[in-house]
Assembly symmetry: C2
């Protein structure tokens, strides 16, 4: 299988485009691809091309775009994963897995029990890191789309995101079955396949009752039953289940 | 939340039972539970009890079983995960996740591309290790059932397992969408919720065409579409999707 590289400026057959530094490094140092080699590039917005390495220099790598080629199909429902930030590497794994399963965007939020602060996320340039992980995961799973990692927000901002339609379509919040009278199972959820949807997944320690009460005004509360799913596996399980419900598989 | 311990001999309220060494060690050294403390024990076969620590000695820990208590509900479909052994820690992660999502049993098999041999599995006492991981995962996810880890078998033995009804119910093999004309999507699969089912998940490099041809006589070939799912996440995604299809969520 030819190696795949992310080239955000790849739009037109016949053009010569430079790879971003990370990608050029991966191409030359790790995969040892050379001038004249055939590769695939994708622009992160849905286009993929057969391409030929045109030049490999210290200051970068350029590729010549050939014909458009197929990438892994995108899901019919564009899901935004609204994920409470998890500790350390676990959030990295969630980003990797969410891209692999096929989400359209990831909105990190800071929940009461997130054990991480917005300041430490900014100081640690975590969003840059998550973006690199999203690129890397898109390369591996065959997508030509790199999901957007949105600016991390406090929990309270979610309501505004829904109201301003920056999150559109049905909005679902994953909770324990005991979280309240309004909680429904996925099977009971009467929502036909939408074009867009958002799904809110909590931190390791779960949502606080206050968060559930606040979110329940705008979000439907759904549950996947009584077995405890690890925080870092919940998004993967939830998106796979929603995709199944909505006929993606 | 009270700590949960695995006590395979716990069957009757009023009895005093010893914890296995691993569990006793966990109770005393890690959680520092003491004589008189309240805990929960489960026997791995579906029963859980309120219990009180009766004695803590160098040679072991005993608990007095109180009233039966509820554990996380078991899925209505008893799924046996027939998993091609993955490299190193990845198989450990699959066992952990499969127990968490709710499989009833795990049958490790050696596929052509497994990159592991039966001899090395036996020499490394890998099955013992997977059994410990299954206990640990059951403790965390709240189940009172510890799924059975069956003796690892070569791929060719699967046919006999199906024929001898040691694997009963619908048998599904996960493949790439391009694996042949008989491949159906999960949505196209016309199988009502069974009591038992088995699902065959391949190694990192996928099944060989020979394996697919051999299995297709007894297994239905199903696909989750064209995005490449990591080998160590496939079982989790597949079981979550099947559970959704069969009304578990």
């Amino acid at each position: 299988m030819r190696a795949r590289f992310f080239a955000p400026h790849a739009h037109t057959t016949g053009a010569v485009v430079a790879l971003p530094d990370d990608e050029a490094e991966h191409l030359t140092r790790v995969l040892r691809v050379k001038r004249g080699d055939d590769v695939i590039v994708f622009n992160g917005q849905g286009l993929a091309f057969d391409a030929t390495v045109q030049s490999v220099r210290k200051d970068g790598v350029e590729v010549l775009l050939g014909a458009r080629c197929e990438a892994a199909p995108e899901p019919r429902v564009a899901v935004t994963l609204v994920q409470a930030v998890l500790k350390g590497d676990k959030m990295d794994d969630v980003v990797r897995d969410a891209v692999m399963i096929g989400v359209a965007a990831i909105q990190p939020i800071l929940a009461t029990r997130s054990e991480v602060t917005l300041a430490s996320i900014q100081r640690g340039r975590r969003r840059d890191r998550w973006e690199r992980i999203a690129v890397s995961s898109a390369k591996q799973c065959g997508r030509a789309v790199v999901p957007v990692i949105l600016e991390p927000e406090p929990f309270d901002a979610v309501a505004a995101l829904v109201e301003e339609r920056r999150l559109s379509g049905p909005a679902l919040m994953l909770v324990e079955p005991t979280a309240g009278a309004e909680v429904v199972s996925l099977g009971e959820l009467d929502v036909p396949p939408p074009r867009e949807a958002s799904i809110l997944v909590g931190p390791e320690g779960g949502w606080t009752p206050g968060e559930i009460a606040a979110a329940s005004e705008r979000y439907r509360l759904i549950t996947l039953g009584g077995r405890t799913i690890r925080g870092d596996a919940m998004a993967l399980v939830a998106v796979a289940s929603l995709f199944t419900k909505w006929g993606e598989y």
